[in-house]
Symmetry: C2
DNA sequence: CGGAATGTTGATATGCCTCAACTAAAGTGG
DNA sequence: CCACTTTAGTTGAGGCATATCAACATTCCG
């Protein structure tokens, strides 16, 4: 029988070994579901949240708000991710978290999590590892946005997003949902809308990848990987599921 | 009596409450000192380290190496920082860690750390929090390098570096050591050497900050903070030491 | 003192941004 | 169901910030 908590457990097992007791403890966490509309915030910059969210469905994004009002999106999160484990041990949110398109999350109190981690250190270490992988993704974004051309940035980002979507088991081979406008892509990759648009069309013409209608279509994975200088090591996936064998 | 471990304890206490038992546990960690020459690596991309380092003296930097051979520096670390707590629960290093100028670190095995965390969850939570603050700094770097001009980036970076150096208690008010060449500043902030150089001179002339001879000289803190759009919230310092009162 | 590393400065090129107009698609209400 | 409105995407012109290339000055260090 599948329970919503299993989404998190499956995710943690991508990189961590959990004993039966750990799994039971995670499965027993009191979680309630919350549905989100497009652009709706889960938490805002400055909040002091007492809950953490696990993505059940859809896409969430972290973002900074700049004095000009412009947003800088920091990362995207798909099914199984626990975006604000980042805030578990921090008083105030230094960033916001919102839904890109409709989404659903599971909410669990910090209290319940911490008390589980005290009883079951290995469960805590697994979630800790999850936050460390998040940090690795941030590092890659620094490099991506600082040292690569807009076209390469896009290619790299599509690789990462497709790769992570495939891991959830929800994306069919060759395509992945990506509910972002081109403006938002720009705010994620540190580029203006026109240059995103032009780079997108170049990628389309090159036959590597096609992004339109909130959908990534992979045309030639290996060429795209090369173009985007993508090496998935930083995602620290230990066990690539059989269903995602095409990613090697 | 002061022991080298106290450097880490002092750092953790900036943001976490540690009980006597936690402090004792941390103090009992078996640590050995290692001296580093300029440019020397602590760990390399691809390594599977069994040790974590705590910065005792000097500056360490994390970096990615790009196919072109260019480096992207990701973050700097000063006394008390635990830069590769990031790798505690990861198999392979997705980045390297090296000394900028001469430095000294304390090395502690992952094994000893993990076993302490099992006995003393609160000590683990404090180190976890430390890694989460690291992640917050990464997020800020994404925004800094993606959404700000080179001059603003520099100003923001100087603010952060000065702020963090002051917290260690090792920097006198008004200046901080920063053993980087302008080339390396460029590789940190995603900018070319000439534009770094010109932005530096602009900042110098504006009377906010002067960087030369591996030294940041703060001329006008409040103007610099404004210029760099710097808000230290993301550093998550709960208790600003009396000695660093000038930072408010 | 000589060589290497670092910093300074200028000329030129270019990727990307801004501004702007226009097209296409997708919702919305009569 | 269609006109209307809004939002998203496309494309071009012009300009600016930044990169690249290059020469030279300065400092550091053996």
């Amino acid at each position: 029988m599948s329970r919503p908590q299993d989404v998190l457990i499956r995710k943690l097992q991508e990189h961590s070994n959990l004993s039966g007791g750990d799994v039971d403890g995670l499965r027993a966490l009191p979680m309630r579901e919350r549905l989100l509309a497009n652009e709706e915030d889960v938490v805002r910059q400055g909040d002091a949240p007492k809950l953490s969210a696990v993505v059940l469905d859809g896409t969430l994004a972290r973002y900074h708000t700049l004095p000009s009002g412009r947003r800088q999106y920091l990362s995207l999160h798909v099914r199984g991710d626990m975006p604000d484990a980042q805030a578990l041990f921090l008083d105030r949110m230094d960033h916001g978290l919102c839904a890109m398109g409709d989404a659903a999350v599971l909410l669990v109190t910090h209290e319940a999590l911490v008390s589980l981690f005290k009883k079951r250190p290995a469960a805590g270490f697994a979630v800790w590892r999850e936050t460390l992988i998040d940090a690795a993704i941030f590092r890659e974004s620094i490099t991506n946005n600082s040292a690569r051309s807009v076209e390469t940035r896009l290619a790299h980002f599509f690789c990462e997003q497709y790769y992570r979507s495939r891991l959830t088991g929800y994306a069919v081979p060759g395509s992945a949902k990506l509910p972002l406008t081109q403006t938002q892509l720009g705010e994620l990759l540190g580029a203006s809308l026109p240059s995103i648009n032009r780079a997108l069309r170049k990628l389309r013409k090159s036959g590597c990848v096609d992004f339109r209608a909130s959908q990534i279509q992979i045309r030639n994975w290996h060429r795209l990987v090369k173009l985007g200088d993508f090496d998935p090591t930083y995602l620290h996936v230990r066990r690539l599921p059989r269903s995602a064998a095409d990613l090697r």
